[in-house]
Symmetry: D2
Subunit: 295 residues, 4 copies
């Protein structure tokens, strides 16, 4: 393939992503790859996973190059639905790499996760379109503005939760493909999660053993833990119990103060959240029951 | 210092370890180091820790070289008690590096932790004297015998717990300085722990989030965890809740089967347990409340 | 699929592995998966990689289940060659999961890598058939014999290299599918590597920056390195420069003595070598130029 | 100790740091700790290291609390010199925790290390006073200004090195305690290093095996490395060969593109450089020959 095409692919031009999930059975890979070959698409990469060696659920992520994808997309989607997905009982999703996801970031007073996402986005490491930052405190406005992203202050507390969520929904609904909770310290109701109409990704600290509730770092230090960590997950009605996307830890010891643990925990949190958002924006993460598969 | 002395120190000859703990106050380091200097001892290394910057608990581990230590030890211990420890209200312990701890390992059917300990001991990496292996199943006898360590089969089950523990106590009491539970799958009663007369170290798997009970690896996989880990801790009456000595994790993903998780978990377990036993045998671990300080 | 079949697959019965490599072009995945579907095989997993997004080299590893594989294998191989491989100019290899690789381990005086391989094999973690251990020193005979593996002492030194290699070749040629150099401290000549007729995997320590030659751990400590590591690679004529299969490191600091570095380095070496041998035995590693792709 | 004093210590008020280095001999710890006790200082923490168990070089870092330190400092320094340092032939340095180091950061076009340092400083994680950023390109001005730090553009290229270094020296000499090269891509001459009058810390990528020269990430990928890393070190006349302060690595595999390696490498670089600068600013790093000891 010639150089200009190579360059287009790197920019995401004419590159499609096909994600699918169905009951496992023979012939799936052949059916999908034959469809794509006949449509004139070249497979750039293909990853698949079965939850069991036989009889489980099959998931596949295929990246392909098809000249003129944007114009052809609707027809391709319809054809794939009729000729493949319906035959095998597949859920599927077809996206274009050149169309970044529209993302809202919700934050509170802590900057580490928020700034890491904005900074990676500006550097070109994290392909997304950050359409707004919603914060329940005004503190971070000055830090966000230089990134050229709207900063919207929506006060939120327990006593005004209903009206706050209504304002947030007015801002978000239909406007975003993903909401990232970047240390947004308020509980979101099941009603909000239901109505917002797109996935939400959250980050929380995690420890061995677990410390739920207030002052987790202080209690972790009192227990003498040797690792502190963070977990990024999709938000479900079960607070902090949704499907895990990514986890990581950092070693600590008795010489670390509570402040040190908070600082090291912040480093893990921002790294874990940024990886989870990156993988989601690259359509790598497939939900399956209460877990995720990263292809 | 001349070469023969250097060599003696490496062999632990004439090398003492002084561990102490007391309420923090000015002058502690000066008092201890002046005592040792006046006794003719040279400090090889000194590590200390205070639980708070002021007003907390002070702990110190001092390694020193004193020609003729074995002969002088009792007098040294008495003098230190009178001239330093009593003055500052210290708990202290004085050990000789040349006298390895007597260790019993309790095992069941799984070999990975047991063999790793015996193998490191044979290689000279882990200075201890393994005086017996007690197992509630006979399966590992052939694996243990080539290491030249007595293998004693004491059947143990829930219904014969009392008599089993009595036989174990008969073997252990007065004969060992440490009991290592190397995947010994039986519960030990508070009475046993109380009577055995020495510390016990246990290893258990650990996950984020935690899975307590049966089939933890299967449940961890169903939850889609990204890390599996292990925790080594001193045994207290609270099962699996004693002071943590060491923890570690290994990354996993959806491609790992339950068997893979078990295999990777075994690697972490043996590494973590071996490190914990090593540090204990080097007198590096000081207990403080429900945590440990590793100096 | 019913339970007995599920169990057969876990045992590797009727499970085939197809590895292939060719110039990338559209239609490859479709051609291979259609061939397998028509042959009655069910794809269990499929991993592929292209060295460039377009115009590079394409590699694929496909695991499939085909009842009666052993009987059908020769015909399947011939058909695939004619109908797919010849058409696309593919190199390919077809193996049966139920037929473990025959492996010889060459060692010297150090036991850590050798014992780790034998121990994982005995535990069932590392599916291979260890047909012999060849050592240029007799020291490890007693450690190897309990594993039920022949231990063959072939003295080897610089001055008798030619005759030693001839004896080793007499033992190995035609009898093994893989030679693992488990800290075998002798140089092997290009002539030996050429004649042995199977791949060789070697392990060596590695540092940042590199210390080539004698006493690497001493020099690493003098340089104050913060990481020590190990690299497992296929052996080529360029000593220690062959395609890398796996690498890892462990953190160290100024408190670690040279002995500590050697001990920690041994832990990394055995872990890295065991992973490399496991992946090779599972046909996961494809060589490409002077690198490897692990599918 | 009462609450106000506890708070003062956390703020660094009346907290001193004493670093010393001398030939090892008995009585050193006693002499120093007795001196401090007699001066009315309370030892908060004490770390020491000997390069050999006997006969080597002894290094110690002592953190102490002394009410009225700022006023008493000069006398304390003089007394310690006369009564302890001169007696034992010590090099020593006495600093006040409340007086942060004055730091200049030199950068070029890449932002990741520079921004991470400024951001941690603003968060209060990294106690230093950034007095200026000097860059040989104007690109990063807009990113630096919101941090309230002067951005000074000093064009520098091979052909104008002499005049550029002269301008840089005019800015730096006498004004800073540390220069951090945050991906400053120009060579600095031995003359500059000699005249600048303070330590310099540099960051560079590091690989196993090493790739020196242009396009290291491309060559690392072609070699199929499994780890990419970074090394922070003090600058000496030997380019990139000065005493190592910190190193770290991240795992990569064949699925990572060159862009991915650059991105992951940037994450390691900024983490490693920030840790090195933090430890230096806390007076934790002692140089010894061509290595560092971190106490």
């Amino acid at each position: 393939m010639n150089e200009p095409v190579q360059h287009d692919i790197q920019m995401g031009k004419d590159v499609g992503r096909l994600l699918l999930r169905c009951a496992d059975r023979p012939g799936l890979v052949a059916a999908v790859s034959t469809f794509l070959a006949e449509a004139g698409a070249n497979i750039i990469s293909l990853d698949q996973h079965s939850t069991q060696q036989t009889g489980g659920t099959f998931m596949q992520r295929t990246i392909f190059h098809l000249p003129g994808l944007t114009a052809a997309r609707d027809a391709l989607e319809r054809d794939f639905g009729e000729r493949v997905a319906d035959v095998f009982g597949m859920d599927f999703r077809l996206t274009e790499a050149a169309k970044p996801k529209r993302v809202a970031i919700m934050a509170s007073k802590e900057d580490h996760c928020l700034i890491d996402l904005l900074w990676r986005n500006r550097r070109g490491e994290l392909d997304m379109s950050v359409v707004m930052v919603i914060a329940n405190h005004p503190d971070l406005a000055d830090q966000v503005r230089p990134f050229g992203v709207p900063f919207i202050h929506v006060p939120a507390r327990k006593d005004i939760r209903e009206s706050a969520e209504q304002r947030q929904l007015d801002l978000l609904r239909g406007n975003v493909d993903l909401v990232v909770l970047a240390r947004y310290m308020q509980i979101l109701t099941p009603s909000f999660i239901d109505q917002v109409g797109c996935p939400l990704i959250n980050i929380h600290h995690s420890f061995l053993p677990a410390f739920i509730g207030a002052s987790p770092y202080r209690r972790a230090r009192e227990r003498g833990v040797k690792l502190v960590g963070a977990t990024a997950h999709y938000v479900t009605d079960d607070l902090d119990e949704g499907p895990i996307i990514e986890q990581d830890v950092v070693r600590v010891d008795h010489r670390h103060s509570v402040d040190d643990l908070v600082r090291l925990g912040a480093d893990v949190e921002r790294a874990v959240l940024s990886r989870a958002v990156l993988w989601h924006c690259e359509d790598r993460v497939i939900r399956f029951g209460n877990q995720t598969i990263r292809l």
